[in-house]
């Protein structure tokens, strides 16, 4: 993640304003740009219909409309540019194979988004990464026990997190933790949706997300002074 392709600027809300929305931890923080129920993309319906009928130009148009979201999704889930390109390619290849089966039960963008997530998950499984370990989730290692998370007030986060530091910390998370953190806190999926996608229990999803956040907190507290800009 050190060669992050993303811009480095980050802004954070003051802690006082967050106090007005205490459910930020619980809800799927679905950013508007990733909202599965987003408003229809202009030109999408026509391109979709033509692409389903085998029109290559229309498929190219669908690619243009959705390439940024899908590529960005792949990139943040795997943290590797080359892999993200391959996964984006695979996602659109699968889209080409399956587009005729899309019936409009959900928004096309939602359907494509999930298709891409499944492509990434399949890839991670092929690489032998254990996404979820129930034992690990339910029985924390001794060094991860609750007491370790106690934060003396002078060691808490300042409320201004450097984005690169956080991205790096996310990249260092174990695969299962990272996936759930990305899916919930970045992509905005709910625990029941994540549980269905990863074939785990809702409790497991909640537990893994909590541990992921604790690990990130630890990572950010270790070297915050190196990362926070002037």
């Amino acid at each position: 993640m050190s060669n992050s392709p993303f811009p480095t600027q980050i802004s954070t809300e003051p802690r006082n304003s967050r106090a007005e929305s205490p459910t930020a931890l619980a809800r799927g923080n679905r950013p508007a740009s990733f909202a599965p129920a987003a408003a229809p993309v202009p030109g999408e319906a026509d391109a979709l219909a033509r692409a389903q009928a085998g029109d290559h130009q229309a498929f190219a148009q669908l690619y243009s409309l959705h390439k940024r979201r899908i590529y960005s999704l792949c990139l943040r889930m795997v943290g590797n540019i080359a892999e993200a390109e391959d996964l984006t390619q695979e996602a659109f290849l699968q889209l080409h194979r399956k587009i005729a089966t899309f019936r409009g039960d959900s928004a096309f963008s939602t359907w494509l988004h999930r298709l891409a997530i499944n492509v990434v998950l399949m890839q991670l499984r092929k690489k032998g990464l254990s996404l979820i370990s129930l034992d690990e989730a339910m029985e924390p290692a001794p060094e991860e026990g609750p007491g370790r998370s106690f934060g003396a007030p002078d060691l808490t986060l300042t409320g201004a997190i450097d984005r690169l530091a956080l991205e790096r910390a996310v990249g260092d998370l174990p695969a299962g933790y990272r996936l759930i953190f990305i899916l919930h806190d970045v992509e905005g999926f709910e625990h029941n949706e994540i549980a269905a996608m990863l074939d785990c229990s809702i409790g497991n999803s909640k537990s893994q997300l909590h541990k992921a956040r604790l690990k990130l907190r630890d990572a950010l507290r270790i070297s915050p002074q190196q990362e926070v800009g002037p």
Binding site: R18, P22, F59, R68, R76, P153
Partner: protein, 93 residues
């Protein structure tokens, strides 16, 4: 009668945090948090992280060459030459 929630230890509260937070309850209103500076700080930190996550990984443009690769792979499949890994997909780098 003593409120069990307010007398629980930090360890007990933190063990219940995943379910408490995940269920959508406002953990900040929990009696233990009201009386415990450490757990209040922990909760605030986790909120900070969750909020910051929303700004992670902004949408970026894929390389222009990617469409040509996809187009080529589609053509290969349509010509009957393709397989799922015909364009080197899902191969570790």
């Amino acid at each position: 009668m003593i409120d069990e929630k307010s007398t629980m230890s930090c360890a007990e509260f933190q063990a219940r945090m995943p379910e408490l937070i995940g269920s959508g309850e406002n953990a900040a209103n929990h009696p233990h948090v009201q009386n415990c500076e450490l757990c209040r700080a922990l909760l605030a930190d986790l909120e900070t992280i969750a909020e910051a996550a929303r700004q992670l990984f902004p949408v970026v443009e894929p390389p222009e060459k990617l469409w040509a690769k996809i187009e080529s792979a589609i053509k290969s499949e349509e010509d009957g030459e393709g397989s799922e890994n015909s364009v080197g997909l899902l191969q570790p780098h």
